[in-house]
Amino acid sequence: MERRRYLVAYDITNDRRLREVYREMLGWGTRLQYSVYLCDLTRPELIKLRRKLLELIDRDDDSVAIFDLGVPASSRAVVPEILGRPPTLPRQGPAIY
C-alpha cells in the first residue's frame, strides 16, 4: 500500500468543534501551521480520515480542504517552500527509541 502525502487545512467556526477536529488531526499527521497538517496516508486511510472529519464538522458552516501532494520522496511530489520556522515533516521508516 503506497502512501501519498496530503495537505489538510480546515476552517472551523465553533470552538468546541475546532478542539475536536484538532484532537482528531493529531492522530493523522504532523502540524505544519495552525489548522494546516501534512498527512502521509494510504487510500483506505484517507477514506477513514474523510469519514471522521465529516462526523465532526458542521457541513453548513465549516470546511476542510484536502490537497494531494503526491508520493513523498518521489521527484514529482509537491514540496512546500517554507520561510521562517522549519517544519516538522511526517516521519518515515522504523521508529527506534
Binding site: 500500500m1 503506497e2 492522530g27 493523522w28 494510504t42 521508516g93 521508529a95
Partner: protein
C-alpha cells in the same frame, strides 16, 4: 488470557443432553454475490473468516451509513409506492439464505427490493453485473416467500444516481438457485477453490495479498507469464522499537506518545506501527496496550539483553484449518518441510560466503555443497540436525573471511566460532541479536497469518520457544541476519564502543542496539528481484510471503514448500 473457545461456547449449551446436529448456517445474500464474483474469495471470507477492508469496502461502508440514515441521498419512491422499509432483514430455512435489504418499496401486495451500490452501471446490455443480479434475485425470492409478489428489483448506483430495474426472470431464478447450491457445496469442502487465472478482478480485490493468485498459479503451472505486481505493495506501517531504559509508550487521545526518560516526547500515529518490540524495562500503559490490541498490532517482549520472551496479541486468527493442519501433519510430511528449511539455509550460507569472502575458501564451499546433497537423502530429522550442525561448523569457521581485516577490535577477540549463552565475543553478540530480531519478525508474521508460532516441523517445541518461527527463520539467517552483521562491522557502523564485556560474555550497549537495528531495518527495506516471479520486492515483503506459501502448502494449495534462495 481468555481463549477463543471460552468466548464462543454459550454457557447453556453445555447443559443440554446429547449433541444436536448443527444445521449449516444461512448464507447471507452478500456472500452468494461474492461466490459468483470469485468462489475463492467467498471461501476465504465465509469459511476462513478473513476480512480485509479495501478502498471499495471502505467507501461502500460510507455509502451504507448514508442509507441507514434517512438523508437526502435516498431515491424518491416511485409512483404508487405506499410505503418503504429500510435495512429490511429476511431469512429462509428452505432457501438456506438470509439478506439485509437496503430498501424495500411496497406497492399494495407487491414488493420491490432496492440495493445500493457505489459506482456506476456496468457497461453491458443488462447494465448490472451477474453477482449483483444474483444478490438482488435472492432478495426477491425471500420477499416472495414472505408472501409478496415480486417481479423486479432495482439497483441504485450512487455515483450516477441512476436506478436500474432488473426483471427477476425464470432464468435468473434458476441461475440464482444454482449459485446458492454451489456456494453451499463449496463452503462444505475442506480446501479452498483455486485462484482465478489472469482475472481483471484480482487487482481490486481486498484479499489479493492473502490469496496471491498469480504467484500460486505460477507455482501450480496454471500460468506462465510473470505475475502482475498485485501484492508487492509494501505495508505502510513499520515496527516501533522501545529500547531505552524507562522509555514510556502512552496513549493520548487518538494517538500514541513515546517518552524517553530524558528526552522530548514524540507523537506517533497508530497507522504507522506494524508491531511494537519492547526491550527490557520499558513501560507500556494499559490504555496504549488496549489501543494496540484493538488495531491488531502485536507487541513483542524482549529482555534488555535481547532474549525474545513472547508476544502479546489479540485472539488468534480465525484460520482454524491452518492450525489444525499444523498439528495433524504426518511425520514424513514434517520431515520434507524440515529438509527444505535446512537445504535453503545451507545453500544461502554457501552463496553468502561465495559472494563476500575475501580469500580462498573453496574447500568450505565444497563441504557445504556436499552437506546439501546429504540433506536431500537424510532419512529422519535427527540426521538432518547432524548435517545442519556440520554445515554450521564449516560455515562459521569460514565466517571471518567475510569480515574486513582491519576492524577496530582487539585481534583474536573478534570471533572464535559460533557460541551462545553468553556470546563470548562481539561477533557472536551481534549474531545472537540479529537472530532474535529475525525470530521476532517471523513470530509476528506467523501469528498474523494464523499459525501457532510455537509448533514447528523441524525445531522441537520447547516451552516458550517459537519453533515454527525458528523453522521459517532458517533460510533467512544467512540472507538477512548474517548479512546485517557483516555490513554493520565492515561499514564501521558498529565499533568497539558499541559492545561491552560483562563477565564471560559480550553484550551491546543501548546505542549499539539502536545502530544495529537501523542496519537491520535498512536490510529489510532492500529490494531484490525474486528468482521465480521476476519482480522486485523487499526482504520485509519476503518475510510475509514465505510464511504465506508455507500456509498454502499446509492447506493443500501448493504441492511443496520452496525455501527462498538468492543466486
Amino acid at each position: 488470557m481468555i481463549s477463543r473457545e471460552d468466548r464462543t461456547i454459550p454457557r447453556e449449551a453445555a447443559a443440554e443432553p446429547g449433541p444436536e446436529p448443527e444445521p449449516a448456517p444461512l448464507l447471507p445474500a452478500r456472500m452468494v454475490n461474492e461466490f459468483v464474483y470469485c468462489p475463492r474469495l467467498f471461501y476465504l471470507e465465509w469459511v476462513r473468516g478473513l476480512w480485509a477492508d479495501n478502498d471499495d469496502t471502505a467507501e461502500g461502508t460510507d455509502l451504507h451509513r448514508r442509507v441507514d440514515t434517512p438523508a437526502g441521498t435516498a431515491p424518491e419512491p416511485g409512483p404508487g409506492v405506499r410505503q418503504v422499509a429500510r435495512a429490511f432483514e429476511l431469512s429462509s430455512e428452505t432457501l438456506g439464505v438470509t439478506a439485509k435489504i437496503d430498501l424495500v418499496e411496497f406497492l399494495d401486495d407487491a414488493a420491490r427490493p432496492v440495493d445500493y451500490k457505489r459506482g456506476r452501471p456496468a457497461p453491458t446490455p443488462a447494465r448490472v453485473w451477474e453477482p449483483e443480479q444474483v444478490q438482488l434475485a435472492i432478495q426477491a425470492l425471500l420477499l416472495r416467500e414472505a408472501g409478496y409478489q415480486c417481479r423486479e428489483g432495482v439497483i441504485y448506483f450512487a455515483e450516477t444516481g441512476e436506478r436500474v430495474t432488473v426483471p427477476i426472470t425464470p432464468e435468473l431464478e434458476q441461475q440464482t438457485l444454482a449459485a446458492i447450491a454451489r456456494a453451499r457445496e463449496t463452503a462444505g469442502q475442506p480446501d479452498a477453490p483455486p485462484p482465478l487465472v489472469d482475472s481483471p478482478k484480482c487487482p481490486a480485490c481486498a484479499l489479493v495479498g492473502y490469496c496471491m493468485p498469480d504467484e500460486l498459479n505460477l507455482l501450480l503451472h496454471r500460468r506462465t507469464a510473470r505475475p502482475r505486481t498485485l501484492i508487492t505493495r509494501e505495508p505502510a506501517a513499520r515496527p516501533l522499537y522501545l529500547i531505552g531504559y524507562g522509555t514510556q509508550l502512552r496513549k493520548d487521545g487518538n494517538h500514541f506518545i513515546v517518552a524517553p526518560r530524558d528526552g522530548e516526547p514524540t507523537r506517533i500515529r497508530p497507522i504507522d506501527i506494524s508491531h511494537v518490540a519492547a526491550f527490557g524495562t520499558v513501560t507500556i500503559s494499559t490504555s496504549a496496550l488496549h489501543a494496540l490490541l484493538a488495531q491488531e498490532t502485536p507487541i513483542a517482549w524482549l529482555t534488555r539483553g535481547g532474549r525474545f520472551l513472547g508476544l502479546t496479541s489479540g485472539l488468534m486468527g480465525k484460520n482454524i484449518q491452518l492450525r489444525r493442519r499444523q498439528f495433524t501433519l504426518t511425520e514424513p510430511e514434517a520431515l520434507e518441510l524440515a529438509r527444505t528449511f535446512v537445504i535453503a539455509k545451507i545453500r544461502n550460507q554457501r552463496t553468502l560466503l561465495r559472494r563476500n569472502s575475501r580469500f580462498e575458501i573453496g574447500r568450505t564451499l565444497e563441504g557445504l555443497a556436499d552437506a546439501v546433497a546429504r540433506a536431500r537423502l537424510a532419512p529422519d530429522s535427527d540426521t538432518l540436525r547432524g548435517i545442519e550442525g556440520y554445515a554450521a561448523r564449516l560455515y562459521f569457521n569460514a565466517f571471518p573471511a567475510m569480515l574486513r581485516r582491519d576492524l577496530p577490535f582487539t585481534p583474536g577477540d573478534l570471533f572464535r566460532g559460533r557460541n551462545r549463552r553468553p556470546p563470548r565475543d562481539p561477533v557472536n553478540a551481534l549474531l545472537s541479536f540479529a537472530y532474535t530480531l529475525l525470530t521476532k519478525d517471523l513470530t509476528v508474521q506467523a501469528q498474523l497469518i494464523g499459525f501457532d508460532p510455537y509448533w514447528g516441523f523441524y525445531h522441537r517445541p520447547k516451552f516458550g520457544r517459537p519453533a515454527l518461527a525458528l523453522d521459517l527463520a532458517e533460510e533467512f539467517r544467512p540472507l538477512i541476519a548474517d548479512s546485517v552483521v557483516i555490513t554493520a562491522l565492515n561499514n564501521g557502523e558498529i565499533t568497539s564502543a558499541h559492545v561491552r564485556r560483562i563477565g564471560a560474555g559480550y553484550t551491546l550497549t543501548d546505542d549499539g542496539r539502536r545502530t544495529f537495528l537501523r542496519v537491520y531495518e535498512r536490510r529489510l527495506e532492500q529490494e531484490i528481484t525474486h528468482p521465480r516471479f521476476r519482480y522486485r520486492l523487499s526482504y520485509r515483503r519476503l518475510l510475509d510471503l514465505q510464511p504465506r506459501f508455507l500456509a498454502a502448502v499446509l492447506l493443500g494449495e501448493l504441492p511443496a514448500y520452496q525455501g527462498f534462495e538468492t543466486r
